[in-house]
């Protein structure tokens, strides 16, 4: 029941809001508080799930299953494992923060805004919890609608272009995925006589390698667009730049992880042989994205665009870790997903706070703010450092594990990916310097106000989380360990193509030890 509650709670909140009249904006305050309370309650529910989660087991837990459309073997089927658990918690952790961040900037149609935000949260949680592919697809597409409106209604000047671009890009991927999902159900019926969308049953399906290729590509293109993997990334900066702060926080913090989550949950374990075949190619795209995203981020004049491109770079690491398909690679990937949610969500938050104050996102419009807004500066600095992977903060753990995993797979990828680590310091610190250091260059900036208590309430949890994740990573690594282990084994055991592929790389592989690395 807890899992259903975790996505139904925001839906219930949204439905309730529908019936509250707020034509003249008189009830804006109560509506804001109400939706905040709903998201906080959702967060508490997901924490209860975490508390009851058995970290030693790789099985799906808190499973709920009811027949939905029995004729096609479609079930309402939910469950969490170590991978989805933390992503659900991330979602419910970021939602109240995103809502809080909107209090100062969203003054139009507050009720509708809150409804869309709650609906978005419900759909995102649903995506992570679904174990039935049809149900997954329903949530997946349901997620697009509120995001579309959030960008299109509350966005900046080019919001319509951005919203439509976002929609078309993702729908293209979704359609491919839908065809593949239906195809899988058909394959299941061809093998067993009944349709099924049950993920675990489909895992057990024996699919011919040639068939796997097509399915893998269909799923992976959908996910690659979402990640976004180079060269499918150009919707991202438009969507980010045009989205309101809360939208950007959720978009960067959670939505992008749908893509990498999909790779982990569907593409790789469903089609392991195809995954083994395509992994090097994917990894090449990932490392191109790491360096490319960082280089393009470096020269952006717009802060939000800069952060958007930095996401291309950071998510490239995640894909690289997944492609490595060993314990450190995948754990690093999941960890980086969480860490990126915290730090990039945080970056959009603080950038949003700046642009709300000045109504511009151009770096050149700022300068010398350290003397004006010391608290905001500190928060920005912490999040910046988290983002560039300073040891002791969240970003380092994921990056290091990914690099370790990838190094064990094929060191060449790490040699290139590592450049992203250098460049991240360049673009982030350069932005920081131009915004906060030097003399105050614009008259208007002299009177900017520092963080309000409400803004502190949004920023402090993120900064604190950056430290907790950097100092006590085992808190988050332990719950995912069993599930990641099971996943890696499932993929590797069935990978015959992969073995051949590794032979090919043998001369780049080093002799490595088998005993525990301690």
């Amino acid at each position: 029941m807890l899992l259903t509650l975790s996505w139904l709670l925001p839906v219930a909140g949204a439905l309730l809001l529908l019936f509250i009249g707020n034509a003249d904006g008189r009830r804006d305050g109560p509506i804001r508080w109400f939706s905040l309370v709903v998201t906080v309650a959702t967060f508490v529910v997901t924490l209860v799930v975490w508390a009851g989660f058995d970290a030693g087991s790789s099985e799906f837990q808190f499973v709920e299953r009811y027949p939905w459309i029995p004729a096609f073997g479609i079930d309402y089927y939910l469950g969490v494992d170590g991978i989805s658990l933390l992503l659900v918690v991330l979602t419910s952790f970021l939602s109240p923060i995103a809502l809080l961040s909107s209090w100062g900037s969203i003054e139009r149609k507050v009720k509708e805004f809150s409804i869309f935000m709650l609906a978005l949260e419900a759909a995102m949680i649903g995506v992570f919890l679904s174990l039935d592919l049809f149900l997954f697809y329903v949530f997946w597409d349901a997620m697009l609608v509120p995001m579309y409106f959030l960008i299109g209604i509350w966005g900046y000047d080019q919001r319509i272009y951005a919203a439509i671009k976002f929609m078309l890009y993702t729908m293209t991927g979704s359609v491919l995925m839908l065809v593949a999902i239906l195809g899988l159900a058909y394959l299941h019926s061809a093998a067993t006589g009944t349709y099924s969308f049950d993920l675990l049953k489909l895992y057990a399906l024996d699919i011919a390698p040639q068939t796997q290729m097509w399915f893998f590509l269909a799923f992976t293109v959908a996910f690659a667009i979402k990640v976004p993997l180079f060269p499918f990334h150009t919707w991202l900066q438009d969507a980010h730049v045009q989205a309101p702060t809360a939208g950007s926080v959720i978009l960067a913090g959670v939505l992008l992880k749908m893509g990498t989550y999909g790779l982990l949950r569907f593409s790789f374990p469903l089609f392991p042989e195809a995954a083994g075949y395509f992994a090097p190619a994917l990894a090449v795209l990932a490392v191109i994205g790491i360096v490319y995203g960082a280089l393009v981020a470096m020269v952006q004049p717009d802060m939000k665009k800069l952060v958007a491109y930095s996401s291309v770079s950071h998510l490239g690491f995640v894909v690289l870790g997944i492609c490595a398909m060993n314990i450190q690679g995948v754990e690093g990937a999941v960890y980086q997903m969480l860490a990126h949610g915290v730090s990039t969500g945080g970056l959009f938050l603080v950038v949003g706070m700046l642009s709300e104050r000045r109504h511009t996102r151009l770096i050149s419009e700022f300068g010398g703010l350290k003397a004006v807004v010391p608290r905001l500066t500190t928060a920005f600095m912490i999040i910046t450092l988290a983002s560039i992977g300073l040891p002791g903060l969240n970003g380092f753990i994921g990056e290091f594990l990914i690099m370790l995993g990838a190094f064990r797979w094929d060191p060449r990828f790490v040699v290139v990916a590592g450049l992203g680590v250098i460049l991240s310091a360049v673009y982030m610190l350069w932005m920081f310097q131009r915004v906060y250091y030097g003399p105050v260059t614009h008259e208007e900036n002299v009177t900017l106000r520092d963080l309000l208590p409400r803004e502190l309430a949004a920023v402090v949890p993120l900064c604190a989380m950056a430290f907790v994740m950097g100092i006590f990573p085992t808190l988050f690594l332990r719950p995912m360990e069993a599930s990641v282990n099971a996943l890696v084994q499932r993929v590797q055991e069935t990978q015959t193509l992969r073995a051949a592929n590794e032979m090919q790389n043998a001369r780049f592989k080093m002799q490595t030890v088998q005993r525990p690395m301690r």
Binding site: K165, L168, P231, H233, T234, Y292, L295, V296, M298, V299, Q300, I327, Q328, E331, G332, G368, K370, A371, P374, L385, L390, P391, G392, I397, F400, L401, M403, L404, F407, P411, V414, V415, G418, L419, V421, I422, A425, V426, L429, W430, Q433, Y436, Y437, G438, P439, I471, P473, T474, L477, R478, E481, N485, M510, Q511, T512, V513, R515, P516, M517, R518
Partner: protein
């Protein structure tokens, strides 16, 4: 207990970072000093405990918790005190505490909140530096390594309103990151290859395999990558360019971070992994060559710089180069010995220069100084002791350590490297005494427009950009002094206030006597420091008396006797070099000032080359920085991203739109047109079936 050593400064950071802006200076400064003194006290007690153990068992270990656990990779946050770490923590906490004390006076003109911010950074630095030297494995070391880099960034840019300071901070961080990239690759290679990052375990494993003589195998690659990391942190070719710029930071910061402690981390790292490097002779040779080249290059630049701190900065680069020569020769003990003595005299020299700058209200150009001996006696005499020590005048700290490096280099048969190191020593003595004479001797010169000028004053226009900014940024520091012009009245020149004088005097005593822990056998000593350090350079399983892998430390008694003659000869040579160097400086800059001008004019090309630091910054800008920036902006972003990829996306959309538009025209809404097309369609289909 050893965890307390970094925890105390961390506590100071937390207090000053959270409450500091509301605390008066006495309390925030007091807290910062107190935690450093406490940390020093714990260090002394820990080292005392360590010394009580038998030589072969001298390690104290404390595992705080398991930091990362992912599958078969498990990493503990472990601190380990051994003889090498002992030397380092005493230097860091001892010199660190003195510099904290000095800073309370030096930074006194800052407002309360800035004062607290300064001390919170300084405490944080000390905490990370202590983690760096106490870390028992590469990843814990790396935490400290990156952490000190962060603090360096924050402190260089402390006067953030000044663009040069902010730029310098960023440059330091980014250049270090380039080194760290290689460092991380080196770590990963070691981890994947040997299955551990723990220093002792690595040493045991590597000790069991044969050295990579003549082959450039995994170990050579890994150690070379680590060394590239060290060139970033310790400012060696090719990554040294950040250190001179780092002088934009407050002077006590330059003393602590950019002279005594952080920049020596690379040398320490090699010492920490003596067994690994010892098994990679090819890498060792590269280390020594890079060190020697850096030492020589920086020494020549130091000869002509006019900013008091920049001279010292290039001197630091040069001395670090000498330490790397020692490390590369396998004379790890000699390298660490020089690191240790250098911490005293270089910190002293920087603090002395700080006292000068403080007295002159921000003036850093030695061409505007002169004759300060009279006004700043404490500063002068301590600075002189520091200069004598670094020059290698017999009896003072630098003499013993530098001599040991020269001796070991010569004995290893690398006479080219020895010659380079000897020339470096000569240059050191010369540029240091040029600094002493121009700053403290002669007549007082007030501004560049009048009085005696430094050689090559006709070249000043080119210089203003490159030799740092002699003009302090108004409003950024010493605000209270900017109101009225003190500098015009020499009677207002104040020598170092008590807190600063204390630090200067203690460090001067250190610079004088610190060398006596390493008196060589040839002079009747028994090189206690080398003996103390020896176990740290060997794999943990071997007995203390076994020879260092690839090293030259522990030769037998007979060998010592044989070499005593050689050592004495070399010692005489290096003493002579120091004295000649000082004499040359005295002759040129004290007696015959016009000679310097004449030389500069005669060799204008060479002079300009040195003054502009061989144009290396310009070279990097032109070949690396600008191409990447422009390529990213015009090529990747405007060209590929917006042009090609997004162009394709929007093109597809436009194509679909145009296609739909064309199709839309079919939807004319005219019933007759529909009927007509239906008719044609039926005819075509029927025709197909009929004539098939």
């Amino acid at each position: 207990m050893i965890a307390l050593i970094p925890l105390f400064p961390l506590l100071g950071f937390v207090i000053n970072a959270s409450l500091g802006r509301r605390l008066p200076k006495a309390i925030s400064g007091g807290v910062a000093m107190a935690v450093m003194v406490a940390s020093f006290a714990v260090s002394v007690m820990s080292v005392w405990d360590l010394a009580a153990l038998p030589a072969a068992e001298r390690t104290i270990e404390q595992t705080v918790y398991t930091w990362i656990a992912s599958g078969d990779f498990i990493l503990d946050l472990t601190l380990r005190l051994d003889p090498l770490a002992a030397v380092m923590i005493l230097v860091v906490t001892g010199v660190g505490a003195l510099i904290h004390i000095y800073s309370t006076a030096y930074m006194h003109d800052e407002v309360d909140s800035e004062f607290a911010r300064y001390f919170s950074y300084l405490n944080l630095f000390a905490a990370f530096m202590l983690v760096l030297v106490l870390g028992a494995n590469f990843l814990v070391l790396f935490v400290g390594w990156e952490g000190v880099g962060l603090c360096s960034y924050l402190l260089i840019g402390f006067w953030f309103r000044k663009k040069a300071a902010a730029d310098a901070g960023k440059k330091a961080f980014v250049v270090n990151r380039i080194g760290d990239y290689a460092f991380v690759l080196g770590m990963l290679l070691l981890l994947v290859r040997f299955g551990t990052l723990d220093f002792q375990r690595l040493a045991s494993i590597v000790a069991a395999i044969p050295p990579e003589n003549g082959v450039f195998g995994a170990l050579s690659i890994a150690t070379l990558l680590l060394f590239i990391g060290a060139t970033g942190k310790s400012a060696q070719i090719p990554l040294y360019t950040w250190l001179p710029d780092a002088m934009e930071g407050p002077t006590p910061v330059s003393a602590l971070i950019h002279a005594a402690t952080m920049v020596t981390a690379g040398v320490y790292m090699i010492g920490r992994n003596a067994v690994l490097f010892g098994h990679a002779p090819e890498t060792m040779l590269i280390v020594a060559i890079v060190g020697a080249l850096t030492a020589l290059m920086a020494g020549t630049i130091g000869l002509v710089q006019n900013d008091i701190k920049r001279v010292l900065a290039y001197s630091t680069v040069s001395q670090l180069g000498l330490m790397f020569v020692a490390m590369g020769m396998g004379a790890f003990g000699a390298g660490i010995f020089h690191l240790y003595t250098h911490a005293f005299f270089k910190a002293l020299l920087f603090l002395g220069s700080g006292a000068v700058i403080h007295a002159l209200h921000g003036e850093q150009d030695i061409r505007n100084m002169g004759g300060l001996k009279r006004y700043l006696p404490v500063t002068y005499w301590t600075f002189l002791i520091g200069s004598l020590a670094i020059a290698g005048v017999p009896g003072l700290a630098g003499f013993f350590s530098k001599d040991e490096i020269l001796y070991e280099t010569f004995r290893a048969g690398h006479w080219i490297l020895w010659t380079m190191a000897a020339i470096t020593s000569f240059l050191t003595a010369t540029y240091m005494f040029r600094l002493v004479f121009l700053t403290f001797h002669g007549e007082r010169r007030r501004d560049p427009g009048s009085g005696i000028r430094d050689p090559g004053s006709d070249l000043m226009p080119q210089m203003s950009r490159h030799s740092g900014s002699p003009i302090p940024d108004p409003g950024s520091r010493v605000p209270s002094h900017d109101v009225h012009d003190h500098a015009a009245h020499d009677s207002h020149l104040h020598d170092a206030p008590p807190a600063m004088a204390l630090a200067l005097i203690v460090l001067a005593v250190g610079s004088a006597v610190a060398g006596y822990v390493g008196v060589p056998h040839a002079l009747g000593g028994h090189n206690a420091l080398a003996e103390w350090l020896a176990p740290s350079f060997q794999p943990p399983t071997t007995v203390a008396s076994a020879p260092v892998a690839g090293g030259l430390q522990a030769s037998g008694e007979e060998a010592l006797a044989e070499n005593a003659g050689l050592e004495l000869t070399l010692m005489t040579v290096s003493s002579a070099i120091a004295i000649v160097g000082i004499a040359v400086a005295a002759f040129v800059w004290l007696r015959r000032r016009e000679l310097a001008d004449a030389l500069a004019a005669r060799f204008a090309g060479a002079y300009r080359l040195l003054l502009n630091k061989y144009y290396v910054d310009e070279l990097y800008d032109a070949t690396v920085v600008e191409p990447i920036r422009l390529g990213s902006q015009e090529g990747l972003w405007r060209g590929i991203d917006v042009g090609v990829i997004d162009g394709a996306v929007n093109g597809t959309a436009a194509l679909v739109g145009a296609g739909s538009g064309a199709l839309r025209r079919l939807q004319t809404g005219s019933v007759r047109a529909y009927a007509g097309s239906m008719f044609i369609g039926v005819v075509v289909i029927l025709g197909y079936y009929l004539w098939r």
